[in-house]
Amino acid sequence: MFFLNLTAAEFFVLLGTLAGFIAALYLLDKMKRKKIVSTLRFWRPAVTAQEHQSRKRMREPWSFFLQILSLLLLLLAIAQLQWGIRQRRGQNHVLLLDTSAWTAQKTEQGTLLDREKILARQYLAALESSDPVMVVHADSLAAPATAFTSLHTALEQAVEESVSGFSALNLEQALGFASQALSASSGSPGEIVYIGPGLVRNPPRDNQNVPNLRFIRVDANRGNCGIRHVGVKPGAETGAWNATVTLKNYGPAASRVHLHGQFAGYTFAPRIVQLPSNQERTVEYTFETSATGALVFELEPHDSLSQDDRAEVWLGRNRPLKLAVFTDRPDVLSPLLRANRGISVTIAGTSQYRPKPDADVMLLDEMSAPSTPEIPSLWIDPPGPKTPLPVRAVVKNASITSWDSSSLLGAALYAKDAQFPTAEVFETFADDLLVGSVANGPIVVARPQKSGHAKLAVIGFDPFTAGLRFQVTTPLLFADLIRWLSPEAFHSAEITAGPVGAMAVPLDPGEGSDGVRVTGQSGFPIPFTIRDHAVQLFAAHPDIVRIASGGHQRILSLTLPDIADVEWHPHKVAEGLPPAALFLPSAIDLWKWLAIAAGLVLLFEWLRYGQRRAAVRKNALQAASSAHPADQDRELVSR
């Protein structure tokens, strides 16, 4: 017999206080109260007997006793008096439900997760109904689905709503979380129950520190072959790609699989790969294409875990920048522009101007366009009055006073000794970027894309005059402006398909870490850190992550499941479902009966004493109200 809510000391202190209070009220009722009366002559006959009687015994002692008894019963009910053994009353349990990638494996009765759900329900049913349980979904992160609660409907709903993830199980972190939850909970700690196949990437170092650990194993079919990694890099030649596909056999027996490749409707010849047990094989592909599309690799035959049998990456453009040049002096511009292998130059006369040529960028040399360009354009010394930007003034023999070296537009531009025979100073507006300026104003201006207008950059002087053409400023200025007009043409892309979860992407040796940006498929930035010159990030769900760093871009297609390959064999833990007798109620709740008994005692006390007191008051009132008619009768008779 024990109290669930109160200690014995607390109970007796409460009982003593309340009983004292009731006794004080009772004594207060017995205390002499003063009452002013008209005369004492009629009291005297009653005084002696009543005082004598009052001294002899307490008035209504049974009422007092019944009130104390009901108070005692109520306090026992509040303290939740229970009959039984206190040993395992109110134990908290943590149910770790494995939702890692393995649990999506199909079996004859559904998936492994379905089997886990059945076992979880059986475990919950075996528990004592008042034991609080916390359901935790465990994969690479342990996420609690419920708080500690004894509401089995909420627990079963949390179990039912669990879905298989794509990441591997981090059991050490899950066990640590469960231990912390148990130690921080108010009740006595019960079991930590793990339900799952027990396949982890890194097994816990020591499970001895986890008390009351129970392992309910769900057997998984380890015979699984899958794609672990797909990497695609641009080749040395334009349009060339190098792809590597890493396959792994997780099963205990060797397996032979067919790897099918497909890109933009074209199918590669299938490769037959012999995969030894627990071994990886890498298959390489080299192909050339200027098209964009999805590169798909698929394993056959499919196995029970089909999520890693197919991988898909999206390949973008891998070709040089197309630059359409409209000039009447091709011999002057051609040496500069054709020197870059990354640029494919098409030169035409100014009379052949078209607003949308087959190019990524157009260059308009000393000409006025009859219509607005529909692709990004670079203007060199446009003659008035049809300049893309209004000309504020024309200056002669001016020198550069400032370059915008802080941005990519003016990168590496510092020379200020160049003299311009003539230069146009432009009128600028909001959002215009000032690349280079003389004392009178900007002479090199870039305007970002606006509604209905493509990007444009304007150079207000002729960079090919005798003084400037031999300075390094000229090619740098061209390179910066063309890079700004079509930045994607200069990105070197590296495309990878890998598993979800934690990932470390090493940066190139010369690659700075300042300008690294990581965004997800939705465009929102993803938190990351840079450690050991590698970008470290975590994706709990399948996503396409872009890592941009300067001119380099990496696309991570994190759509493959992270399949753990290490089987966990804990030592000295309880295994399987617990016997029903273990959680049989060892104590009986008495509070309901105590509360009912207290109510009955109070009711009896009221019927026996309280009702009589009320009747006395009622009779007194009735007697007082009927005093006059009685008097009237008496007077009428006396008359």
Binding site: K34, S38, V47, D631, R634, L636, R639
Partner: protein, 297 residues
């Protein structure tokens, strides 16, 4: 107490009522109650033998011629009888009322005001005589209904205080007012000493008693339960008792017994008695039990 003791509507009702008495009192003509005492009236009553000193104008000379003896004609008289209203102004008149009820003193003042108005309407003279331990300063109300306001002011200016001592009061009363008449006593008659004997003295001296006993709810039906310390409102004497049903019943029986003794005393001496609770409105009292017992017509 700033509001009038009786309102106008009630006063209009009182116009129909008259104070009556049962005894025959001698006195000067001018009253409205016939007396069995002969006097200088207009209506023939009887003959009696002539005695020396009788008024010769009342001799029946016809009878003398016939019987050669002097007979005197006696006439019925309606004498002016003094009406004295004794109002208890002791401290006990403020105790014993329930919560929200008027005190016995207030109730008594209203009742006195109503009786004074009834007398003034019939051109009676009513002496208002408050008392507690002794008789206090009286007020004579006379001269018709338009002299009611001074009487009401007098009543409103009274303050209850002191202990009741009926022996002293009876002695003072008999000494101060030797002429017999109607004596209306409005009181709770709760004197620690015996008040029946002093009242008997008053009756023995020829006064017609109209005893109006007032009681509050607590006076007759005391409430409360358990141990209570009772304090006498007049003497301050304290008594500790344990109240329960039985003691309350015994108290009520004792109170009713005392009221019965008062009534017997009044009736035995040709007087009247009315026991009134303060819970009943004054209008209901006047037209109810008082009308029934006091010959207020």
């Amino acid at each position: 107490m700033s509001e009038p003791l009786v309102d106008r509507h009630f006063l209009e009702k009182l116009e129909r009522l008259t104070l009556q008495w049962q005894k025959s009192f001698d006195g000067l003509v001018g009253g409205h109650n016939v007396s069995r005492f002969a006097g200088p009236g207009q209506e023939f009553l009887d003959h009696r033998s002539f005695h020396v000193g009788d008024d010769l104008r009342a001799v029946n000379w016809r009878a003398y011629l016939r019987f050669e003896k002097l007979f005197l004609k006696v006439f019925q008289v309606e004498p002016r009888v003094p009406v004295r209203l004794l109002l208890d102004a002791s401290a006990s008149m403020t105790a014993g009322s329930g919560i929200g009820e008027a005190t016995k003193f207030d109730h008594g003042r209203k009742l006195a005001a109503a009786l004074v108005y009834m007398g003034l309407v019939r051109l009676d003279s009513i002496l208002l005589q408050p008392f507690s331990t002794r008789l206090m300063e009286p007020f004579l109300a006379s001269g018709g209904r338009h002299r009611f306001q001074p009487a009401e002011i007098f009543l409103r200016s009274m303050k209850p205080e002191g202990r009741t001592n009926y022996f002293e009061i009876a002695r003072d009363y008999l000494t101060t007012y030797p002429q017999r008449g109607l004596t209306i006593i409005i009181s709770d008659f709760l004197d620690d000493a015996d008040c029946l004997r002093p009242l008997q003295y008053l009756a023995d001296f020829g006064h017609e008693l109209l005893l109006i006993q007032l009681w509050g709810r607590e006076d007759r039906e005391p409430s409360g339960d358990g141990d209570i310390e009772l304090v006498d409102a007049e003497s301050g004497t304290q008594v500790k008792i344990a109240l329960d049903d039985r003691s309350r019943q015994e108290y009520t029986q004792a109170f009713d017994g005392y009221s019965s003794e008062l009534k017997r005393l009044a009736l035995r001496n040709g007087g009247r008695y009315a026991g009134l609770s303060t819970r009943n409105p004054i209008e209901e009292v006047v037209f109810g039990p008082l009308f029934a017992t006091s010959r207020v017509h």
